[in-house]
Symmetry: C2
Subunit: 222 residues, 2 copies
DNA sequence: GACGTTTTAGACAATGGTGTCTAGTTTGAC
DNA sequence: GTCAAACTAGACACCATTGTCTAAAACGTC
């Protein structure tokens, strides 16, 4: 899995880092090799020595970021406690770790922007992203919710749907910030996570929807 | 508000439409005026006659799309029935209209991609988007939820938060499709809306969170 | 049908980016 | 210190793009 070329040499790393930065800021067409060279503190020829052409460099950058993001994602996913007696607090802390280290950091921003703007141009690369990379965060989260559901701590029919909704809820408050390249403060992350988790738990701590008549609680309450 | 330059002449329209298409597909730097000219069936000089330079054309396109999207948004927002006796069905149909005509159509895709990729480069334009354009869909939806809450049909503390979450939930199932330039089918839109609305109602039909202990609907129903 | 406006096709200079090449310099291993 | 590998600086050909300019053609209005 970790088929990164990092570690080969210090120059490679600074090239990859600088390239990620510039590609993210300017997009593929808007990026010039010279700009990357300056940012990396390296001569242009050195870049061409390591990567045959601009497109080679670009795919190398994407793979590098994807590998790192993927590793980080799995490291975060494993931090949810096995025994959770304070579900809301645990889920909130978990969501904060997830957003801070995966969704709203530099790599997350890079992938979000690049998948959006160049995804159609590189179907292969981003099919990889979707199936083997950070794009499958949804199904990975689904497994976590399956565990929680089987333990009876949540009532979930469709684990993958719940995972997508959980991510969507967490992002609901952060989109406006990240959309413009801003990085949310710790407080904003905390609030976003708290709001999302409260709504999520309210939606998924009741009776599972198939075991009760579809007309929901409202009819019963009134 | 409707400060569009449309209608001046047929050429302008085809230029704006073609430019929107190409800018959306290729991004600002990746777009060449010639490509737009061909797509619009117009000579390059004609484009320079109407718009002084590439950047002028770009901002004109964004304003045009924003105006249209804004009008469409308000037309859709007004379609939610005053008396809603089937809340789930009404909200679902509403969400379908919203996604089909505002969020997932050509204009929605354009704004999503362009705000994401060029937002930092044109702060003024996208501040407009956020405050006076489609970007304020959240607060507009908030007003709707305020109505529903005051009627007692939903229990909502924070209307704007609920609106953001509603949008996020609707998008949860569509993101993977729209992210790659695809357009969801009617069935996918319907399913996404249904899933979102069911979860939303489950989260917001119980007792308001501050007035009752956190364990919600379940307790009331059983 | 005449006249002014709009559009067209193409040539054009200027610019900036890609990728190659060369000659000289640094670096690190032994 | 030597030698090979990596790196640098700069020149270079090549190409695409922007924006201007011109002369001819199409259009529409009276």
């Amino acid at each position: 899995m970790g088929h990164t070329q990092r570690g080969q040499c210090a120059k490679r790393i600074s090239i990859l880092d600088a390239a990620a930065e510039v590609f993210c800021r300017e997009g593929f067409s808007g990026t010039s090799i010279d700009e990357i060279a300056v940012e990396a503190g390296v001569s242009r020829q050195t870049i061409y020595n390591h990567y045959r052409e601009k497109e080679t460099l670009f795919t190398a950058v994407v793979e590098d970021v994807m590998d790192r993001a993927n590793a980080m994602l799995y490291s975060i996913l494993s931090t949810f406690p096995d025994k959770s007696d304070r579900l809301e607090d645990d889920l909130t802390a978990f969501a904060v770790r997830l957003t801070k280290n995966c969704l709203c950091n530099q790599d997350g921003k890079f992938l979000r922007k690049l998948v959006q703007s160049e995804g159609e141009r590189y179907p292969h690369l981003f099919e990889t992203w979707r199936q083997h990379g950070p794009g499958k965060i949804g199904t990975a989260l689904g497994a976590l919710f399956a565990r929680l559901s089987h333990k009876g701590v949540l009532r979930i029919d469709d684990f993958d749907l719940a995972a997508r909704q959980f991510l969507a809820l967490v992002n609901a408050d952060l989109q406006m910030i990240t959309l413009f390249g801003g990085t949310p403060t710790d407080e904003e992350l905390e609030n976003a996570a708290r709001n999302a988790v409260q709504t999520f738990i309210r939606a998924y701590s009741g009776t599972a929807s198939e075991t009760a008549p579809r007309t929901p609680a409202l009819a019963v309450v009134s």
